[in-house]
Subunit: 447 residues, 2 copies
């Protein structure tokens, strides 16, 4: 029987994070939770989402709160609710209650934070300060935040798993709803219902589409045809702010056609190859290139590409069909810390490539224990890529355009899981939702 350490109380988790920040960044730091954002008029706001760096050290989802972190000690700045606010928004905890809950050493009104900025590092844009500065304005703070948030403690991992469990249920609901649905919107609704019912939110705008070749498709009006593949990229975010991110692609009819199945299995092979080698020390970029080579090899086997997979990848031929990176960091943000530009995704001294096959790679670091990344290879037939490529004549030796026509209706496939790096390998946090074609067919048909 394995001994299990009971989870730390949240206040101690937060204190540990603050202590580690103090080690990495001795200067004081000020962070803000942010303000609700108006949708069409001031009182009609989008659902408030607190800043992720702020959440990391406080766990607080309240707007109009600032904190000062100094040597691990937290000073809280927030206002008590006005009597009128109690009418419209109900009773809310007082400043003193919140201060005690999160382990603050002192608590002052919100505006008082302005008197604590002079010595403190902060991030541009936060609290309305220095909106025009880039993230390289506070390099020491950025470096410390990245060093902390790249690696997840047990509380973070628990929250990501909780979000992932709801996302998996949402995908199952989407598959079950497909036979009875006539539009993308209906499947999306069945999926988001699960997330809303669990008191979670969508970590990002859902993609639920029969046009998976549009990578960030946020339209849901297309009709579902029996011969379509439906690509669903939907992920829940826990109330604490921790995210999950899952993509599955399934046949509307409940049965992959042979052409769909062939290409699906190529994408799955790329996915599985990455999972098989992910472990501490492995370069994420090498996972990406492995996915590309596996995809290229599969397309060679199908007669769509000609040549050696290594050469095809070297010349970015795979990128005609897989133009994005194999994944990204996952944490409090679905692309974790992307607000810091490439400071989190790219190890110091590394920069994005100009190469077509690499420029959309969001992560280029060695993997390490407790990192969480997505693995999400795909196959797409994007007219905006394939049209010019064919016209150019440049790919006539490497692409068998006639053979590709046999796969004409297969527009977009992606398989995406959330993967935690462990001391000796990795754990697929979203493995309970199958990826095998037959298993997906069964889930669609089970409806």
């Amino acid at each position: 029987m394995a001994l299990q350490t009971p989870p730390l109380p949240l206040v101690q988790v937060l204190q540990r994070r603050r202590d580690r920040l103090a080690q990495l960044h001795p200067r004081p730091v000020v962070l803000w939770s942010g303000q609700p954002v108006a949708r069409n008029f001031r009182a009609n706001t989008y659902p408030f989402r607190a800043n992720s760096h702020f959440l990391y050290f406080t766990g607080l989802t309240l707007p109009r709160v600032a904190i000062r972190l100094d040597q691990g000690q937290l000073t809280l700045f927030m206002d008590d609710a006005s009597p009128e606010s109690a009418l419209w928004h109900g009773p809310t905890p007082t400043r003193e209650t919140i201060a005690a809950e999160i382990g603050a050493i002192a608590a002052y009104p919100y505006q008082a934070v302005e008197g604590y900025l002079a010595e403190a590092a902060t991030l541009p844009g936060q609290g309305g300060h220095n909106p025009d500065l880039g993230p390289d304005h506070s390099p020491a703070l950025v470096e410390a935040l990245v060093a902390l948030r790249l690696y997840h403690d047990d509380q973070a991992l628990g929250q990501i798993k909780a979000a992932a469990a709801v996302s998996m249920a949402a995908h199952r609901a989407g598959m079950a709803a497909t036979p009875g649905a006539t539009t993308e919107a209906q499947v999306r609704a069945a999926m988001e219902q699960v997330i809303i019912a669990q008191g979670m939110t969508c970590a990002y705008n859902s993609i639920v589409t029969v046009h998976g070749e549009v990578l960030h498709n946020e339209q849901y009006h297309h009709a579902l045809a029996p011969g379509d593949l439906l690509l669903a990229d939907v992920g829940a975010e826990a109330p604490s702010g921790w995210a999950s991110d899952i993509t599955r692609t399934w046949p509307v009819s409940g049965r992959f056609s042979p052409a769909q199945r062939d290409l699906y299995d190529v994408v799955l092979a790329a996915h599985d190859a990455c999972i098989a080698i992910a472990k501490p020390g492995v370069e994420y970029r090498d996972l990406h290139l492995l996915a590309c080579r596996t995809l290229a090899a599969g397309l060679v086997d199908l007669g769509v590409l000609r040549g050696h997979p290594e050469d095809l990848v070297e010349h970015d031929v795979h990128a005609l069909f897989f133009p994005h990176g194999v994944g990204h960091l996952l944490g409090l943000d679905v692309h974790d810390m992307e607000d810091l530009g490439d400071a989190a995704g790219y190890a110091p001294g590394r920069h994005r490539s100009d190469r077509f096959g690499l420029k959309f790679l969001r992560l280029d670091r060695p993997l390490a224990d407790t990192m969480v990344v997505t693995i999400e290879p795909g196959f797409y037939q994007v007219p905006a890529i394939l049209g010019p490529a064919r016209q150019s004549g440049q790919y006539d030796e490497t692409v068998n355009w006639a053979r590709l026509a046999d796969f004409h209706g297969v527009r977009g496939i992606r398989i995406e899981n959330d993967v935690q790096i462990t001391p000796t390998g990795c754990t697929v946090l979203t493995a309970a939702l199958p990826t095998q074609a037959e298993a997906l067919e069964a889930l669609v048909s089970a409806a």
Copy 2:
């Protein structure tokens, strides 16, 4: 058989609106659609919602578009999508296509609008210009926009009705889901599923709560107890931007208790009284006061209040239990044109009262044909109001606190419909969703 005029094509509707603007406001006007707003990092945006004034004249839901209106003629400013954008967001109509669709006389790149500002009126904050100016910066433009948007053409009414139909279906789904639900979130999910499945969005953050006494409650975690009333204020917004806004309050158990039923019927009487007299020329403020008197009379009948309804309302005693206004304008915004402050809600020369019973009244104008307003009286037991009121001793003559205790568990009731003013009276656009207590019981039990 009644003759029905076929609906005008949208391009002609838009042209009529622009021509009417030109009559009311001869100077040129520049409006912007707006930009997507970041949620936690720049690429992770909230779902984009175009500015309502812009929508009114263009019907366009695209970000980063500006228009110049001059003598009814529209000049369009937008950029064609970049080739990279086609990869991520799919093919999009070109500037020329959009220009033709909405009847523009000329079309230029987005940034070119900067050269057309000098002579033009605009609204503060739009397009990032003059964010700090109040809406009284452009009084002539504000006046013209209000004069136009207060009264709805057939296209607008059709869109509001389409949104209302989906909202009604959502409420039916919420009632049907209640017996099987254990939390507020589950009922909310069942309601929003209907809205999402129809390709619509929520016009505002849903309120679905057993704590209806919190007027803008946006928490959904409470458990449902059999003795609770569930208050749901949920409204769909059509893809065109036109809103609806419905509240129903139903018993979790499917049966109102006698105490709940008594208070429910008081609120319903206030609602019905307003509907009965709403017609052109009637002051909306008088509807509000009628609702207050009807509510006061009902509470006198129940023994909760003592005195004459007129006197009770004169002294704001009703406002202890009904502290908000009886409704608001409805249109492209759920509180239509609230971005203009009280310029739309309050007729020229009128201002908000300081009186407790009137200061939250959002609308103080005579009703007129084709206006759409909500009628939404309520009864609430708000601790932040009733606690101090009781302690003050000030209401001991008019409130029977002992009798009120018999209604202890009835925390919040609201009944809200969307009402179109017609030449001789009004039409309840949301009448297909019943308000009678027995009818609601049947819808909950029918599950």
